[in-house]
């Protein structure tokens, strides 16, 4: 007798789950399209360990071109202006040589790919910034990435709220709109950068940068993570060559920095800063001791394993 409700439950679950997954996939597709098609302006908050800030965003889609301006409202006036995903100007300190990488164009969110590494599901409804929203959860299928909870605007598919959660369900960061206006398209004046926004010149020593960084690879990567950019630059202060590699799984990202120690005695460290972890490990190569630092929005154990798996190809061939 008890088997019957159980059976219906099991069968019911069987039929319901794929439907939910499909629905979630549709919502994520909508999210990807929304930012390419929808003009909006609004205010959002960002919160993580030890930091809470408020920002304005102006986003205009006109004649297929996406103009976007972001401005921090409290503290220093952090500002970014982007056109079609390419950064035009930035306030404050921009790391030299940043972004001078091939395929630095932004990648749209791909639910088909994400499905391999996350369980996608619509888990409910909510209300954010006075608008009704659909909650889409992205639960990691392994322990190498964090889960996301996205609250997407029912009308437009825009992300109204985004929570990053670790394996214990603890909140690591919160991104949440407090006001969103999709009716009024931002004006030209709204999108004009402020006086402190310094123009970004992303053209520099491209070729050498790529070559130097490509000498490095990782013996182990968490499933789904791919190299999306690599660069190398000379640090103006320390005069050492710093290589950096960036990987992502379509949602989460981490960077690997490789720097020669030049005889310095440095201990291994681990730092957790809100959602971002930084793990440093010494690595002995043919060129001497190097420090490998993995920085990213991934669990600390995963970062540790990546740091231990970095190898220098140049060293391998000369040995």
């Amino acid at each position: 007798m008890r088997a019957i409700p159980l059976l219906t439950l099991v069968l019911g679950g069987w039929f319901v789950v794929p439907a939910h997954a499909d629905e979630a996939q549709d919502w994520l597709t909508r999210l990807g399209q929304a930012e390419q098609q929808q003009s909006f302006q609004g205010t959002f908050v960002y919160e993580r360990n030890g930091s809470f800030s408020t920002h304005n965003i102006w986003h205009r889609v006109q004649e297929g071109k996406v103009h976007e301006r972001l401005l921090q409202l409290d503290g220093s006036a952090q500002e970014v202006v982007r056109v079609d995903g390419h950064t035009q100007c930035v306030s404050g300190t921009l790391v030299a040589g940043l972004g001078d990488t091939p395929n630095s164009a932004a990648r749209a969110i791909d639910p088909q790919k994400l499905k391999n590494w996350y369980d996608l599901a619509v888990i409910g409804k909510s209300r954010v910034a006075g608008r009704s929203a659909v909650i889409v959860s992205l639960t990691p299928r392994d322990q190498h990435r964090y889960g996301f909870e996205l609250h997407l605007d029912k009308d437009t598919g825009l992300p109204l709220k985004s929570l990053l959660l670790n394996d214990k369900g603890q909140l690591l960061e919160r991104f949440q709109f407090t006001r969103l206006d999709t009716a009024n398209v931002p004006s030209e004046a709204d999108l004009q950068p402020g006086a402190d926004c310094k123009a970004v010149n992303l053209e520099s020593d491209k070729a050498s940068a790529v070559k130097a960084a490509q000498a490095w690879h990782s013996d182990w990567l968490p499933p789904g993570f791919e190299l999306t950019s690599s660069s190398a630059r000379k640090d103006p202060q320390t005069k050492t060559q710093l290589s950096s590699l960036m990987y992502d799984d379509g949602l989460a990202r981490f960077s690997v920095f490789l720097e020669p120690l030049n005889g310095a005695v440095v201990a291994d460290t681990r730092v957790q800063l809100g959602p971002t972890v930084a793990v440093s490990r010494r690595l002995t190569t043919a060129q001497g001791e190097m420090m490998v630092t993995v920085v990213g929005e991934i669990p600390i154990g995963t970062a540790e394993r990546i740091a231990l798996s970095m190898r220098n190809d140049a060293a391998a061939t000369t040995q």
Binding site: G32, E35, F44, R48, N49, G50, S51, S53, H55, V66, E68, L70, G75, S76, Q78, V80, T87, V90, G92, T93, V95, L98, G99, S104, A106, R107, A108, L165, G169, Q170, L171, E173, R174, F175, S229, S244, M246, R253, F254, S255, F257, E259, A264, V266, A267, D268, T269, R270, V271, Q272, L273, G274, T276, A278, S280, M291, T293, V295, G296, E297
Partner: protein, 195 residues
Amino acid sequence: MSREALQESLSAVMDNEADELELRRVLNACDDVETRDTWARYQIARAVMHKDLLLPRLDIAAAVSAALADETVPAKVSRGPWRSLGRLAVAASVTLAVLAGVRLYNQDEIAGVELAHQSSQQNLVAPQVKGPAVLAGYNESSEATGPMANGVLQGQPGWHDQRLPGYLRQHAQQAALKGTESALPYARAASLENR
């Protein structure tokens, strides 16, 4: 009932070979002091043969009988239709218990989920207060003690303090430059600049 027959039955009970009738006969005769003595003697003889340790004259039966004498006899009360009703009631209560158990179990699950939600809500605040794994704002003052190191920081304590903020910034900015999917990477990068 002849004494011989009883002794035979007693022996059979002791050897675990008595049938229902013999067992009843022995139990009925248990009140008799002589029978109990015979029983005790048989036990001693058996213990000697098996070289078992024996506690002589430990008359458990008498003690049990005395205890039972004070008890009311429930069997007589539950005879008749009430007995079957009682059984039904027991069965019903067991079913109820099972159902309640399932229900409670489910409620537990629901409560568990709610708790999980609550705990995640609480943790919203908690990690900010929770100290050691976190470098709040990564400000200059934290450099005095060095970053939160897994091991003991040796050699040049300044190395990580010099490099890590730069690494964190570069990672965040690079992510912000690459990602247009949301303003999230930008917000992360901006939060690093808030000192």
